[in-house]
């Protein structure tokens, strides 16, 4: 594919708001997980909660979109001058040429969960202040961001569980190819809610301790929340050496099971192979793999097998879920931003929480952050329903020192 320029990117998660705080936490190998203190949830688990979310105020014009997920979106947009860069793209290209494609798994469903506690005892009705379109509805976050930046082009939300905000990069690339757009705001926003905490608990997939990806004693996920955004534009003929590019994407389905991955990671492997092919690269060209690495026994086994078979056991790889928790529908976007940071800083993130390495998984897993010269990196996002997406990000030239 023709590479796309990632002209601006930002991330906010429990390790920090904005790229400076994020970069520092990744370089220090710091985790932002804490024992669950969210809402009235009484589960023995750890979460990646963003502080100060309650203080975020939407502008009065967009008040109908007020919910935890859209507050998180606004917090994310407000970092690193991202919202100004997006508004500038709207000015440069014209509103209708700017797309907004975002991923989320649960949107603003927390509002609905809380409204169900306040149903009319006689009629069963939800309280009158409940506003479905601006909160619970799947599209809410893209509609909100579209209004916030003034974009007027195509927009949608992809909600394919944990691959959601990786797949929006692929959708955007196709819209560029089709000549329909000149810029795209892509990314993911997913916020804590009871459905995912109690839901993953029902599947016995939440860990009672901070998650430990690729550790032989891993016991499940820690759920987190995040907002991550990237601004995509066509790459100039000769981008500066340090420019970060989206150079490939691959998507596949497991066709296996709703909540368990294909045991050999066949779907994940197909997605990685396609991403490499689209980027015009071979496995040996990839300098770092940001794994999906949720910390469940089955995910890490399957993904490890797929990576090992395709890349062998020498390509450095790590999961950053021990730092941020699993941010579900935001994970693909968040980890794409981590890959952009890795490329620009020459930094391989580590895996806080992982104490020892599963001897059954033959990959070059990195527990501690390290400096490395990186040119091409790959990020995996794999989700319920057997949905897989891999992205390749590259520096335009040379390697960071």
């Amino acid at each position: 594919m023709k590479p796309l320029l990632i002209s601006r990117y930002t991330a906010s998660s429990c390790i920090g708001n904005g790229v400076d705080a994020t970069r520092a936490a990744l370089a220090d190998g710091r985790s932002g997980l804490r024992h669950c203190d969210f809402e009235t949830v009484e589960l023995d688990t750890w979460i990646g909660r963003i502080k100060a979310l309650d203080d975020v105020m939407l502008s009065p014009a967009l008040a109908e979109y007020d919910c935890r997920n859209n507050r998180l979106a606004l917090l994310g947009l407000s970092q690193d001058g991202f919202i100004d860069a997006a508004i500038d793209a709207v000015r440069r290209y014209g509103a209708k040429r700017v797309a907004v494609l975002l991923g989320t798994s649960t949107s603003g469903i927390l509002d609905t969960e809380l409204a169900y506690r306040r149903r009319n005892p006689v009629s069963g009705a939800l309280p009158p202040e409940f506003h479905y379109r601006g909160s619970h509805n799947v599209f809410s976050v893209a509609e909100f961001v579209r209004h916030a930046v003034g974009a007027g082009g195509p927009a949608w939300v992809i909600s394919t569980a944990c691959s959601s905000s990786a797949k929006v990069f692929a959708s955007a690339a196709r819209l560029f190819d089709a000549g329909l757009i000149d810029a795209a705001v892509v990314g993911g926003v997913d916020s804590l809610c009871l459905t995912t905490l109690y839901g993953f608990n029902s599947l016995e997939l939440v860990s009672p301790e901070p998650c430990r990806p690729f550790d032989p004693d891993r016991a499940g996920i820690s759920i987190g929340e995040a907002a991550a955004f990237a601004l995509l534009e066509r790459a100039p003929a000769h981008p500066p050496a340090e420019a970060i590019l989206l150079s490939g994407y691959g998507e596949s389905s497991d066709a296996h099971h709703m909540s368990s991955p294909h045991p050999e990671g066949l779907g994940a492997r197909l997605a990685m192979e396609q991403a490499l092919t689209r980027a015009g690269l071979g496995p040996a060209d990839i300098d770092y793999i940001n794994l999906h690495g949720t910390g469940t026994p089955s995910n890490d086994d399957a993904e490890g097998a797929a990576v090992s078979r395709l890349f062998g056991s020498a390509t450095p790889a790590s999961s950053t879920k021990g730092a941020t928790g699993h941010t579900l529908g935001a994970a693909g976007g968040l980890e794409a931003v981590f890959c952009a940071l890795a490329l620009s800083e020459g930094l391989i993130p580590g895996s806080p929480g992982t104490r020892s390495l599963d001897p059954g998984i033959d990959i070059a897993y990195r527990q501690a952050p390290q400096r490395a010269a990186l040119r091409h990196v790959l990020s995996n996002s794999l989700g319920f329903g057997g949905t897989n997406c891999s992205l390749v990000l590259s520096r335009a030239e040379g390697r960071a020192r």
Binding site: A125, R133, N137, W156, V157, L203
Partner: protein, 265 residues
Amino acid sequence: MSTNGLSASVRSLGVIGPGFGSWPEARAVLAGDTPWVPAPTRVPNPDMLPPAERRRVGAVVKLALCAGAEAVHAAGADASQLATVFASAGGDGANCHAICEALAGDDRRISPTRFHNSVNNAAAGYWGIATGAMATSTIVSAYDGSLAAGLIEALALAHALESPVLLVVYDHPYPEPLAAARRVSDAFAMALLLDPAANAGPRVQLGGFCDAAADLMADPAMEAVRSSIPAARGLPLLELLARDRSGTVVLDYLDDLRLDVSLSA
């Protein structure tokens, strides 16, 4: 205003809606050959799923699977080789209602099946399990404009893959109390098997974005279906297909953006 070359032949269709259980039935009504007898949509049971999975899925997933299967069978296509784009304005409302009720009660335990069915890509996941398709599958949502979003994504994907893509657009009403906050009048699904390489059959082409008003259905009762079910926003396109006519339709998309689509019969 943009124009571009995104187009594909419509090899086959599947339709389930109020008063019609298949594309041939809908076609006869939309072509004016048969009077329409409105009746609540009947959601069939998909025989493509293994019995254990069939018991687990809700009406929303059944609706999507049955419409998709009709299009695949009508074309004699191999579902295991097809990429799929699903489009829906909402998720599985009945499942969501049950989860929210449990979470608001004293015992917050929810069943594992309820939880994995709560993902918005449940239909895509079950479709993959039923067909063995390992190609890409996605689901897009854009509130009342989800059909247009799905059509754009499906045509762009077919163009990128240079192979057929099955588009399945579906919506199902929410139960109360959610229904009071989001009215969808009945269940509706349409599936299009879009083939960018085929030369035969009607060809659908994306004209571009515009701000003209969306086309309506002449029959007020059919217009009520179009305007009260997001997935039925494609009825003007289905009408052209039913009448084997070339023409242009403007489809609802976003509040300030419509989609211009042309059809060469």
